[in-house]
């Protein structure tokens, strides 16, 4: 089944409440996906800095002294903020690649969840309400957020198999559905140089979009092209640094409802997820059409 929520703010005044609003939306979707949950929050970027979200099954050991080790390895200042099994390492922009390489070399059990100027990703196995609480989603600020509650079908219930998946700088994707040509597509994308962390079908969709955007397409064009190349059932919600997109496959059996006001664009697998948003009674509410790319950018 799975549940998806997404919130893209147009009104700056709501930015301090992004986490609180997303938290309400995400936890309402608990019963659509009780096995794991995750969310991506896009915050305000700091000039010249890149955020690397890390995850570790042994956070106490792995995150101990990681700041100093990475700082030494890349020869630049880094700062660390730990939240449970995750941590955000902020590094100088021009040292981001070196920092990721250093993390992989010095802390092999650490996974890199996301890299970007704005994005932070948190995801774990467990009831979505608990996952959101563990990472203090309701206290987070930002411009847009995407969340997912998972009921696994195509791959194991693990932290890395949870959504969102991030395969490119400031990019993320969540998925409700299942893809049937992901093995073949993964092979093709590997030949193009993409790397994969899991056997998960959704990671392939995320990598596909990243690959097409690397070729010069914008998110809207990449989503349109995916209708030709992805086979299976999907409702996708995707985020980029400044953008927010939605796409449903031509059969469109996975539910989706959207709401838009002057203040925000919101996505929910069900209307229930949207009921606590400000002025929802006055919002334009509609079901996104199949095979139709919806895309907002600021």
């Amino acid at each position: 089944m799975c549940g998806i929520v997404g919130l893209f703010l147009k009104d700056k005044a709501l930015e301090p409440r992004l986490g609180a609003l997303t938290n309400q939306m995400l936890t309402t979707m608990c019963d659509r996906g009780p096995d794991s949950a995750g969310f991506a929050v896009y915050g305000t970027p700091t000039d010249g800095k890149v955020k690397i979200t890390l995850q570790s099954p042994n956070p106490d050991a792995d995150f101990k002294d990681i700041e100093a080790s990475i700082s030494k390895a890349i020869g630049g200042n880094v700062s660390l903020s730990v939240k449970s099994t995750h941590a955000v390492l902020t590094v100088p922009e021009q040292k981001a690649h070196e920092a990721v390489a250093a993390i992989r070399a010095l802390r092999p059990s650490v996974s890199v969840m996301a890299t970007g100027a704005s994005i932070e990703i948190y995801k774990e196995v467990g009831l979505p309400t608990d996952v959101a609480k563990r990472f203090d989603l309701s206290g987070m600020k930002g411009t847009h957020a995407i969340g997912h509650t998972r009921m696994a079908t195509e791959s194991a219930v693990t932290t890395l198999g949870s959504h969102p998946f991030s395969t490119g700088y400031d990019q993320c994707l969540v998925h409700n559905g299942s893809l049937s040509n992901h093995n073949n597509l993964r092979r093709e994308l590997r030949r193009e140089g993409m790397t994969f962390e899991t056997q998960n079908d959704t990671e392939v969709a995320a990598a596909y979009l990243t690959s097409r955007m690397k070729q010069g397409m914008n998110l809207g064009e990449a989503l349109t092209k995916s209708l030709d190349d992805l086979d299976g059932f999907f409702t996708f919600v995707v985020g980029t640094k400044n953008g927010f997109g939605v796409l449903r496959d031509p059969i469109a059996c996975k539910p989706a409802v959207m709401a838009e006001t002057d203040q925000y664009v919101a996505f929910g697998s069900e209307f229930r997820a949207l009921v606590n948003l400000p002025d929802i009674d006055k919002a334009k509410v509609w079901e996104p059409e199949p095979s139709t790319v919806y895309f907002w950018e600021r």
Partner: protein
């Protein structure tokens, strides 16, 4: 009139209360507020009562309805009035996928648009949609009427049996074995009756086209064996 606030009353209590109603009940009028997208609101009612739901609902609202008149003042999620037996269900907003699926009787009126698979496998229900309907609507529809004032999506009436489909706008494509058919006087009469029942007065039966089964899929044809 009974007024139930779903922000305070658990949904199960409401539905159990509704299920206790029967013919001759002294509580014929119900108002439900704060429906907040809940699932299965007023599903399984079997009594001649009026139910007004203020707000949008989730899955399966009014499912299996018998006798009751249910109005949703908002939009409905997937499977509204699924397997309805009799009575009326009216949605003032839009309906999500498979509205009125497998319905045996009664009338479903959708004042906005209906999404994909509207009236799938309908078995006698009458469905009137003021807006458009999505793809694969009336798939394997067996009997009853589907009247659409707007447009229909892809593959209308795929593998249809004997349901009667009337569309006023454009049909994006017809499904397997579904063809346009002539409008005879009895079809004009049927549309007029249904529009009247739905309270629609500004639309003429002559504006509709009729679609139905070519009846070529009814029996196995050995010449098509290669296609299976």
């Amino acid at each position: 009139m009974r007024k139930i606030d779903l922000a305070k009353t658990p949904l199960r209590d409401l539905n159990q209360d509704l299920h206790r109603q029967s013919a001759g009940t002294n509580e014929p009028d119900w108002e439900i507020v704060n429906s907040m997208g809940f699932h299965a609101v007023a599903a399984g009612v079997d009594a001649p009562i009026n139910i007004n739901i203020r707000g949008s609902v989730g899955y399966y609202c009014g499912g299996m309805n018998k006798q009751a008149s249910i109005t949703v003042h908002g939009s409905a999620g997937p499977g509204v009035a699924e397997n309805m037996m009799s009575g009326n269900v009216r949605i003032t907003g839009d309906a999500s996928q498979y509205a009125g699926a497998t319905g045996h009787g009664g009338m479903l009126l959708i004042e906005g648009n209906a999404a994909s698979r509207c009236g799938v496998s309908m078995k006698g229900i009458d469905i009137v949609v003021k807006g458009n309907i999505g793809h694969l609507s009336a798939f394997m529809a067996q009997s009853g009427h589907l009247v659409v004032l707007g447009d229909a999506g892809d593959a209308l009436g795929d593998s249809i049996y004997e349901a009667k489909l009337f569309v006023r706008g454009k049909v994006k494509s017809l499904g397997a074995d579904c063809i346009e058919k002539e409008m005879r006087p009895e079809h004009h009469d049927a549309i007029k009756k249904l529009l009247k029942q739905a309270g629609i007065t500004d639309v003429k039966s002559s504006e509709f086209k009729r679609y139905g089964s070519a009846r070529k899929l009814y029996n196995f044809n050995i010449d098509n064996a290669d296609a299976y």
